[in-house]
């Protein structure tokens, strides 16, 4: 079979549905715009937590051996296999007691459940691909942890870092039920406005909402690609300037 032909077929199936989502008129829906602040803040917070916790855990799973780490890996994967939404009923009652219900922080914590397992996997694969020897090499080259990350490990892990940010953004944006339940309608995120629009009849408003839903991850991704290019350019420039 011809590779080009198959590629064209796939492209057709995947791209064609996206052609019709552009609304005839694009009016900034004020209700959606209002949610953007919370939405972006939530994305930033969830992504940052994912990177911090996932980096450490992924590294541990990639390079530690023994029974503990095997069990840890399994425990971290639990939300991939279990009904997270149903379990959050119980969490909601606890959050009420802890004063976290209907709070930004409460939603933030619960959003770790559908995101962090993927993040840890991505980091584990990333570190395994780098390999222990290369990582040990970076330790020998640069002793300072922060400099090591900035000059070596960060640029080496670029594909992983990008995938994590992208995936976490997409999953976070998609959560309606979890946010409604834990946020109690007080923590207003994009999905809370989009969801009712999809059940309604206003086609243009729904299309506009979809543009936001798909556009936001895209913009964030383009942003991070630029960020990483800049990062690596700075690293190169600094290294060029270093005197031996």
């Amino acid at each position: 079979m011809n590779r080009r032909l198959v590629t064209i077929c796939i492209t057709g199936f995947i791209i064609a549905p996206l052609v019709g989502i552009f609304p005839e008129t694009f009016t900034l829906n004020p209700r959606i715009v209002e949610t953007l602040g919370t939405t972006l803040l939530m994305i930033v917070a969830v992504t940052a937590l994912n990177h911090l916790i996932g980096y450490a855990a992924g590294k541990a799973i990639a390079f530690q051996t023994g029974r503990f780490i095997q069990i840890a890996e399994l425990l971290i994967s639990l939300p991939l296999f279990l009904p997270v939404l149903l379990l959050s009923f119980g969490l909601y009652l606890t959050w009420i007691r802890l004063g976290l219900a209907d709070q930004f922080l409460g939603v933030l914590l619960v959003l770790l459940l559908p995101t962090l397992p993927y993040t840890v996997r991505l980091y584990t694969n990333g570190f395994q691909a780098l390999g222990e020897q290369l990582l040990e090499q970076t330790v020998l080259v640069e002793a300072n942890r922060w400099k090591r990350f900035f000059f070596l490990v960060g640029p080496l892990l670029r594909p992983t870092l990008q995938s994590v940010t992208l995936l976490v953004t997409v999953i976070t944006l998609s959560q309606y039920a979890l946010v409604v339940l834990i946020g109690g309608g007080v923590v207003r995120m994009l999905a809370l406005e989009v969801f009712p629009l999809y059940s309604g009849n206003a086609a243009d408003a729904a299309k506009e909402a979809t543009i936001w839903l798909i556009g936001l991850p895209l913009v964030i991704h383009v942003g991070q690609v630029g960020f990483f290019s800049l990062w690596i350019r700075i690293v190169r420039r600094l290294l060029d300037g270093r005197k031996n």
């Binding site: 995947i14 911090l52 971290i76 009904p83 997270v84 009652l93």
Partner: protein, 254 residues
């Protein structure tokens, strides 16, 4: 931190999952579980969910498997194109189904065939499984199959020993993840499903949030039962595959 630290992740995730389960259990009595046995709405909802989840998973797996096999050597543009659906939140993918399939009989949203639902999941999950399996396909050592040929093994055994055994567990794992996800999802079936029977995620969520307080123990009981079932399946699965995957990963390094 030199070798990483899994404690924060384990603490947060296992803490929330197990505590959530614990609270759910504590909200129920034996009678709540007994009443589930005769709950015909639940049974219908479960049957539907299993149908949608297994057909979505099998179809996505089949397509993704074929594509990953086809593109093992070189992906070219197809890799970028297949990554596109990963950018699209499930909610957005569900809207694509509303937008294009609405007026089509049988396939459209709110039809009992639930094909729009299944198609949406194929759109979203095929790339997921594809990118899950692609590196596995790329790491396959084709010399195992050549060796099988030299040893005079039949085509089927050659495939099994040379490729199948290395692909089986990653494929099962990816399928398990997709299956559980589809089975309990809320957003997509709430938008595309019919009013009766509902997919299980929608049914339980609505029971908890929209029903009166007397319904809540039932919702808790259902989540406990489903969670425990999946935990058992997961435990069995892990117990079964762990020794084999260990052999596979250690035995290949040499």
């Amino acid at each position: 931190m030199w070798r990483g630290n899994a404690f924060p992740a384990v603490f947060l995730i296992a803490g929330m999952v197990l505590y959530g389960l614990f609270v759910s259990v504590s909200m129920t009595t034996i009678a709540d579980y007994q009443s589930l046995l005769t709950d015909s709405v639940l049974i219908e909802s479960l049957t539907l969910s299993l149908y949608v989840a297994s057909s979505s998973t099998l179809l996505s797996l089949g397509i993704a498997f074929g594509l990953a096999q086809f593109f093992t050597q070189r992906t070219g543009l197809a890799e970028q194109v297949l990554a596109l659906p990963l950018f699209i939140p499930h909610l957005g993918a569900a809207y694509l189904a509303i937008l294009y399939l609405s007026n089509i009989p049988v396939i459209g949203p709110h039809e009992t065939s639930h094909l729009s639902l299944i198609l949406t999941y194929i759109y979203k999950e095929t790339p997921f499984i594809f990118f899950y399996l692609l590196p596995v396909f790329r790491r396959l050592d084709h010399r195992y199959e050549e060796l099988g040929q030299l040893l005079g093994l039949s085509k089927i055994r050659r495939f099994w020993h040379g490729k199948g055994i290395f692909l089986l567990f990653p494929a099962l794992e990816a399928s398990f993840i997709v299956f559980a996800f589809v089975l309990f999802a809320y957003e997509v079936p709430a938008l595309l499903g019919v009013t009766y029977p509902k997919m299980i995620g929608v049914y339980v969520f609505d029971l908890y949030t929209q029903g009166d307080l007397s319904q809540q123990p039932t919702a808790f009981a259902i989540s406990v039962v489903l969670t425990v079932c999946l935990l058992l399946i997961l435990a069995g699965f892990t117990w079964w595959i762990r020794p084999i995957t260990e052999r596979l990963s250690k035995g290949r390094i040499e």
